[in-house]
Symmetry: C2
Subunit: 157 residues, 2 copies
């Protein structure tokens, strides 16, 4: 198995921020660990039970997420047990929600299941359906075909 310990540095040095993001969250299991964190999991045993993931892989993925500020360790201790670390999403981690939501939206649309979607995003006030897309600086939706991708002066030549 290739570990994030060897993969991340190369991606993290990239001039491309997609590659850098993948250096932190692009490993197998990481998006599913984040999914569990967004639904309330904080403890190692919770992530492990929800995902059926090997302990060494989970340890490695959580360490990467902590190292790059996506999650923060917070010690806790249950009566009769040794102190342990919980893993909490930081503000930076919570900003990854839109990445998960965009993956979910694509899967709902292009890999549907007969029983329908299991999760919906709606406005808290009014319960109106919410989707992920492009927005201009006035807060209005922009159709994908109306979005231009522009190379800046920092783009490698």
């Amino acid at each position: 198995m290739t570990s994030s310990k060897t993969a991340a540095p190369k991606l993290l040095e990239s001039s491309c921020s997609i590659a850098r993001s993948l250096g932190v969250v692009g490993e197998r299991w990481t998006f599913l660990i984040l999914r569990e964190a967004f639904t309330g999991a904080t403890r190692f045993a919770e992530f492990r039970a929800a995902l059926g993931i090997a302990s060494d892989v989970l340890t490695d993925r959580l360490a990467t997420l902590v190292e790059y500020g996506v999650m923060a360790r917070e010690p806790y201790q249950e009566p009769g047990s040794r102190p342990r670390d919980a893993y909490l999403l930081t503000d930076a981690g919570r900003e990854l929600d839109v990445v998960l939501a965009s993956l979910q939206q694509w899967g709902d649309h292009h890999l549907p299941r007969a029983e329908g979607n299991t999760i919906e995003r709606r406005t808290r006030e009014g319960g109106r359906p919410v989707h992920v897309g492009y927005i201009d600086d006035d807060g209005n939706e922009v159709a994908p075909r109306d979005v231009a991708v522009i190379r800046t002066a920092a783009y490698p030549t």
Copy 2:
């Protein structure tokens, strides 16, 4: 190396559409292959040269993308060469742009580099900055804190 041939089926059977999407696009390299496709790459040699990726890995990733309708093969032949396949994004593939854009946005924000961002998204008309976020059914931006995640009747019990 774990191949998508073994990893995808388990994820693709998930009731969670994040997991299903990852079954198609969550393998190492796939998002970077898509990034190259969005910037115009269509030929095997172009992907290989841009990414420095092993041929067998690239072959496997492209096969998965074709199998799940993200890319389509289109034969081409150059004078004096054997017929080859080009790989073109389908409509479903182009809808993954917002996933890449959300990864890019997060990396620009949380993993910045001294020389600045290399790519910007702007409106074609007017050149106004564009970001990725949540939008209601009237086309207005919704702040992440105002978005509720709701389990439907199809959510596994």
